[in-house]
Symmetry: C2
Subunit: 390 residues, 2 copies
């Protein structure tokens, strides 16, 4: 057969062929593609009691079209990441019903009753007590299980080899970890930020620190990452009265530095806090770095006694967590910067009535986090820094 | 056919079958196995003008026998490493005539006219002006070419995946980077060192630093390494009046921290200097850390302008080299310690009339290098430290 691009009309037959739907004709399909890269369809019966989602990787970047080709093999990375996540945090990802590597398609739980966290926040929702805690726990669970603490030496080497994700890593290396500090056609920014964009490109100290983080991203094979853990990769809502958090879209997954996942989440939380501040809304956003870090640290420490390699002692755990903290701050800084003067910006800021002041603050905060990550030793210090910016 | 263990009598037919030797019956074979793991045969004609070596990996550790099984797949790692080395430093490795993955056998240049560096040093030879320079250059050439500076992002990911070497990495993780700091049946030492061996096992600060180096070894995917670069993996001699240096046995090769290769070489050079000192021999041994580092640094800096990724600027190079230096010192420390209170000891010390004083000094030096690697910022400081030990 070979790979074929699925259209809305193909989905009923596709689901039946793959054994995900019985012979019934009661099946309606709509396309709900929302991310930058892939297509997503939702199939449901007329009563809405049976629903399934189908996600297919296209051989190009969906929003750019065939002029930006991208191997659909990224769906393999996504399926592998879901497999690992299902072992350690099944309650925090969508249920996966099947993966079809030939068509680069995942059949999974329909999450359309939930909302993308970023959208909810933009509309004024709070994080609430669960979201950042669940995210911190998930990062701890995934990273512990796939680190040298959770996996034996041979299993680790096999995981690293199997999880290579060169094309998507290259996107991050370029778009997040270098372009914003150089002249590049991808970059754009508000005219009010011309001064800072120029300053950042000329700042050799900043560039060396970013180069250091970039090389850590390229060589620091600590654990399997989600790889793109921003507030647009998280769904939130309620089911049967209980809060629900689901992390999705792990197609950037690879074995890298744990701080990259935490840092992306932190940067997006800090941006959401800037939005609330700009709008004068009372919010819990500025506290989310602390909440997610504490949840991460507590869960990692809870798992520590189960480590497979007891040569790593408690004193080493302290040092290791300190390093993860510091690198997380640095990666958070790079994510802040690239979301304001790089290629892909955030609706948190772009939909503000006057986006420049909040964007400027976020940009300055990003630089501080990169340059001073080793001196900022706790969440309170980061919060004070954010509040001190003018 | 499948894998078969080659005996001396099999070699002539084997070489003819594989096209390495014509039909002539003028072929004599002797076994010259010397390392811990493999078998080596040398075939030559009666005039001694045609010679070839055959190295075969056995499914166990040669010196231990079948009770210590070890996958012969390590020969794949060795062949891959030779392939990379042949691209960047063809003059510093044996010529490889063929690799037979089915039988885990390499057919290569016969080096039996040269001497193992350790043996030569033990018998009173000097390093001379070439050896450590060539070693430093080779480490720079191999590591630059296989780092993110010399290889594009996708090529790097493929190399990391292809170069996984779980069984041999595990040996290093155990024998070098943990056992000597714990109670383990592998460990042994001179009775005069009972006090230090006990002290090392009880030293929590030392253990945390070793854990840090060990985790760097496991996760720091900087470049392809030789993986076992001690003075027993180097042949030296003269051919046609010119000095010859050949690095061999790269079966421990994998993508790891560059400092591990330098550190192993340094530790072995420092041990050779302790031997010379104990014997009261004038020697150039204490200068080899400096010579090899300078050659490494000069060659790496010479290659830097050819890097494929110019986001990494000169200021980052300085920082990166500083980090390689520091990690090299740490790994040198672990190699010193394990060679004195761990599993496999060195003839440099064991063949001394009174091995205890030199062994004690080397052991103390190892601890200092591990604990104070960030403060020892140049070769002179290391030399002063070595000279100050009592």
């Amino acid at each position: 057969m070979g790979y074929r691009i699925l259209e809305t009309a193909d989905i009923p037959a596709y689901l039946r062929e793959r054994g995900h739907w019985d012979g019934s004709d009661d099946i309606g399909v709509r396309e709900v593609s929302d991310g930058n890269l892939n297509r997503v369809f939702v199939a449901s019966d007329s009563a809405g009691t049976r629903t399934l989602a189908v996600k297919q990787a296209l051989p190009w970047v969906r929003v750019a079209g065939p002029s930006w080709p991208l191997s659909p093999d990224r769906s393999d990375a996504e399926a592998r990441a879901y497999e690992q996540l299902a072992r350690v945090a099944p309650g925090t990802i969508p249920a996966i019903h099947g993966y079809d590597p030939e068509n680069h398609a995942l059949v999974m739980e329909d999450l359309s009753d939930l909302r993308v966290l970023r959208t909810a926040l933009n509309e004024g929702a709070a994080y609430g007590p669960d979201t950042s805690r669940r995210i911190g726990e998930l990062v701890a669970q995934l990273s512990f299980a796939t680190s040298d603490f959770g996996l034996d030496s041979a299993g680790r080497k096999a995981l690293i080899a199997a999880s290579a994700n060169p094309e998507l890593c290259k996107i991050t290396e370029d778009v997040v970890l270098s372009e914003p500090y150089t002249e590049h056609e991808h970059n754009h920014w508000l005219p009010e930020l011309d001064d800072l964009a120029a300053e950042f490109r000329a700042d050799t100290r900043l560039r060396t620190e970013v180069a250091d983080l970039r090389h850590t991203f390229m060589t620091g094979a600590q654990a399997l990452l989600h790889g793109d853990l921003h507030t647009g990769s998280i769904m939130v809502g309620e089911r049967e009265g209980a809060p629900v958090v689901r992390v999705f879209d792990p197609e950037f997954s690879f074995v890298g530095p744990i701080g990259f996942d935490l840092g992306l989440y932190w940067a997006n939380a800090l941006v959401s806090a800037e939005r609330a501040r700009a709008l004068g809304t009372a919010s819990d956003h500025a506290d989310q770095l602390r909440v997610s870090w504490e949840a991460f640290e507590n869960e990692f420490r809870r798992l520590w006694p189960t480590r497979v390699d007891t040569f790593f002692d408690d004193a080493y755990l302290d040092r290791f967590l300190r390093r993860v903290w510091t690198e997380s701050l640095g990666f958070a800084g790079t994510e802040l910067v690239r979301r304001i003067i790089g290629f892909a910006h955030l609706t948190d800021l772009t939909t503000l009535p006057n986006p420049a002041p909040a964007s400027r603050r976020a940009l300055l905060l990003g630089r501080e986090l990169i340059l001073h990550r080793t001196e900022l030793t706790n969440a309170r210090a980061v919060r004070s820094l954010a509040e001190s910016l003018v």
